[in-house]
């Protein structure tokens, strides 16, 4: 039994923490909040330089050729630092999609770019609701795409789009679209987390190329999301942990009625609950990491459990961190809301908690029937 990351992997985490501590401090995050910029370009360039974008990409496509366990370690730190960059969209979604379903030519065309800082993302939703045939209207006819997708995370900044659309046969498939090519217009949307960006994309005869097997669009989206769920869970665990530490630090210096607020059971037990939720989420995320890194058939179940647990932990920790801060907590100038907002962003980005609970139980029924 060795249910832990290796020392090398942990060293990777430590160096990521150090790098992001310098380059993605809460001051940097706040600049993203206050400015009109959709992401921090300098930080993104630095991350590309560190090679993180290609952590799990084979060397033949320009990557570092490490695995998903190493990527999990980086993800945890990205979450802790609230890094205001399109890492999730580009690395967990677009890169994973190409690795999973891309032809050799597609991988060769795009992976080296993504690894060096080009931005990819997926365009799946058309408003509210989780994607299904009845609410997907974007259509590909004769190799060109038409319609509207929203919200698309980092949709205004990306170079590569992976779009879920109806093909000529009316079945759903994934398509690659050059976001800098013709027929793609974007409009930036206001989101719950202004340190992360989302867009509405309008396609007008945009050239599109099939990715993966035709008609397998929904299955592919789910398979990609299973990967992303584990990686996002590490981001969320990182965020929950940071929220807990922030709450603890405040409680250890704030005095009321002559005592540190950390000495009141209302605060002690609140922080204990945050700790418990975060540790359970971490354990579930570890199992997800194992399933992801070994290509286990347990991945659908493990990914769902990791995601549910991580959403719950970051939700609880971010809102109770704010509550622990009292008046300071709900000012714009205080940093609590940076976590509170990011927790919501991450909870929605590839299907919410209720969506994944339903998926978890379906998968368990399937396993059970088998």
């Amino acid at each position: 039994m060795n249910f832990d990351f290796s020392d090398d992997q942990k060293m990777m985490r430590d160096s990521a923490r150090k790098f992001l501590g310098d380059r993605s401090s809460l001051k940097v995050v706040r600049q993203a909040l206050e400015s009109d910029a959709t992401y921090d370009k300098a930080l993104w360039a630095g991350i590309a330089e560190m090679g993180w974008l290609g952590t799990a990409v084979p060397e033949e496509f320009g990557g570092v050729g490490l695995g998903h366990l190493e990527l999990c370690m980086i993800a945890e730190e990205m979450g802790r630092a609230l890094a205001p960059v399109p890492f999730a969209s580009s690395v967990y979604l677009a890169t994973e999609a190409l690795l999973m379903a891309g032809s050799d030519a597609q991988k060769k065309a795009w992976l080296p770019k993504l690894v060096t800082g080009a931005i990819g993302t997926m365009a799946v939703s058309e408003g509210t609701g989780s994607p299904k045939i009845s609410n997907t209207h974007v259509r590909v006819t004769n190799g060109t795409l038409n319609g509207v997708k929203w919200p698309v995370a980092d949709g205004a900044d990306c170079d590569l789009l992976i779009v879920l659309a109806r093909g000529g046969d009316d079945r759903l498939s994934l398509y690659l679209v050059d976001a800098r090519g013709k027929g793609v217009e974007s409009e930036i949307l206001k989101t719950m987390d202004p340190t992360r960006s989302a867009a509405k994309l309008k396609f007008t005869d945009a050239p599109a190329e099939l990715l993966g097997v035709a008609g397998q669009g929904l299955e592919l989206v789910q398979a990609i999301n299973d990967h992303a769920a584990v990686l996002l869970a590490f981001e969320q665990v990182g965020g929950a942990q940071a929220s807990l530490e922030m709450a603890k630090e405040f409680a250890m210096q704030r005095v009321t009625f002559g005592r540190l607020i950390a000495s009141y059971q209302a605060i002690k037990h609140k922080l204990a609950d945050m700790y418990v939720a975060t540790e359970l989420a971490r354990s579930n995320a570890y199992y997800g990491a194992w399933a992801l890194s070994t290509g286990s058939s347990e991945l659908p179940v493990a990914a769902a459990a990791a995601r549910i647990s991580a959403i719950d932990a970051f939700h609880l920790s971010s809102k109770e961190n704010l509550q622990t801060h009292g008046g300071m907590g709900f000012t714009w100038a205080g940093d609590c809301h940076l976590f509170y907002r990011r927790a919501k962003w991450l909870a929605h980005v590839i299907g919410t908690n209720r969506f994944w609970k339903e998926r978890l139980i379906s998968q368990l029924e399937r396993k059970n029937a088998a």
Binding site: T128, P151, K190, G258, H337
Partner: protein, 409 residues
């Protein structure tokens, strides 16, 4: 047990209603509001006009004695007026703190000259008052205040900082609690004053909240000189004076604004989940039921309070129930509503987001409601101590002079 007015109450309600019909437009729907359509400055002008009209008809402060412009009415008449006014599209909200908390304190502790000078203009809406109590390092623990007032000949000089002051930026006057003697235990060295917000040395800075709005302010005091005649109550008795003010605050605490069961119910009828309309999903239905039951419980708890009022009883700290339940309920409803929108839930765009971003906005201001006017934790303490009679938290600082307390207190 009935929900009907007594004959006297019914008569009063009819009178109020006909006056309102004659003087204000009816709302087209229950959620219609002036806010959002007008700037704060515009609303202020309209509110002052409406307040003057109300004052003239003696509906402004119904329970106040006639000599101060009230009508010597009952709390129940005030409730009836409020219920009826809620059906009309009028601007308000600017005068609640002044008339609800500051002026009653002035009426009790001010001089006859003060009352003659200030009560009328406040009632008519000509002058607005704010309450300068909280400080950066004294949130829940109001008695740990640092803002100093020092004797200076016939008057006082104030230095320090207040925070969380609602409406300081449009207020003409404020009541302020200060520390006048740091050498005695912390509840004992406080003194209350009132002052003109234009007095030299007073600086108001808005605080931006998480939701992006600014309803509160920081107020800085630098060598602010005021005469002793602006003192309310004896020197060193500011704590007792503030209890009068805060008692009025507890009565004023209402429900949390924002989306409630009805809005969520409508949303679930509108949204599609994987397996059909959200309203048909049993997990959604159970959550809806939970929210409904909590909301109705609060509504009927309020009816019980109103019944007590109607019988001339004073409602107790049970009213803390409303705040402790409704603030976190709002946060939960907002979060759940967003969750039902899936990916679209994080979009805060009024045109794109279902319900025009109502749930998203509420998720951002709900945390403030769990904190302002007593945190969830303080309110549970209040219920435990004042309603259930359990012991207070252990105090390590009770009899220490203020200047020997730990930093931060």
């Amino acid at each position: 047990m009935d929900f009907n007015d007594t004959p006297e109450e019914a008569a009063f309600r009819a009178e109020v209603r006909s006056w309102l019909e004659a003087n204000a437009p009816r709302k087209q729907n229950a959620n219609e509001s002036m806010r959002g359509r007008h700037s704060e400055a515009e609303l202020l002008v309209m509110a002052k006009k409406w307040q003057a009209k109300k004052a003239e008809a003696r509906y402004a402060q119904i329970t106040w004695p006639k000599e101060y412009g009230g009508r010597g009415g009952t709390p129940m008449q005030q409730v009836i007026y409020n219920q009826e006014e809620a059906n009309f599209l009028v601007a308000g909200g600017f005068f609640a703190i002044g008339l609800g908390m500051c002026i009653p304190t002035l009426m009790r502790y001010g001089s006859e000259a003060d009352r003659q000078r200030y009560v009328g203009p406040a009632l008519k809406g000509d002058e607005i008052w704010c309450q300068l109590f909280s400080e950066p390092s004294a949130g829940s623990d109001v008695a740990g205040l640092k803002t100093r007032a020092e004797r200076d000949g016939d008057g006082w000089v104030i230095n320090g900082q207040k925070v969380w002051t609602s409406g300081a930026h449009y207020s003409n006057f404020g009541i302020i609690i200060t520390r006048t003697d740091p050498n005695v235990p912390k509840h004992k060295g406080l003194t209350m004053f009132y002052l003109d917000m234009k007095t030299p040395g007073v600086e108001v800075r808005p605080i931006r909240q998480v939701s992006g709005e600014s309803g509160f302010n920081e107020v800085f005091f630098t060598d602010v000189r005021i005469p002793d005649s602006q003192r309310l109550g004896a020197v060193g008795e500011g704590w007792q004076v503030s209890l009068t003010t805060l008692m009025h605050e507890r009565l004023a605490v209402g429900d949390s604004p924002g989306p409630d069961f009805d809005e969520l119910f409508e949303l679930t009828k509108m949204l599609e989940l994987e397996d059909g309309p959200a309203i048909k999903n049993s997990a959604v239905r159970e959550k809806l039921a939970d929210f409904y039951v909590r909301g109705q419980g609060l509504k009927f708890t309020k009816f019980r309070t109103m019944t007590a009022l109607s019988r001339g009883q004073v409602p107790g700290p049970e009213a803390s129930i409303a705040k402790v339940v409704s603030a976190s309920k709002l946060q939960d409803i907002a979060s759940f509503g967003m969750e039902l929108m899936e990916a679209g839930g994080i979009i805060q765009d009024k045109d794109l987001s279902p319900a025009a971003g109502l749930f998203q906005h509420a998720y951002l201001y709900a945390p403030g409601l769990r904190i302002a006017g007593g945190t969830d934790e303080i309110l549970r303490n209040i219920i435990a101590e004042r309603v259930l009679g359990l012991p207070g938290d252990i105090r390590v600082d009770k009899d220490l002079p203020f200047n020997q307390l730990k930093a931060g207190a």
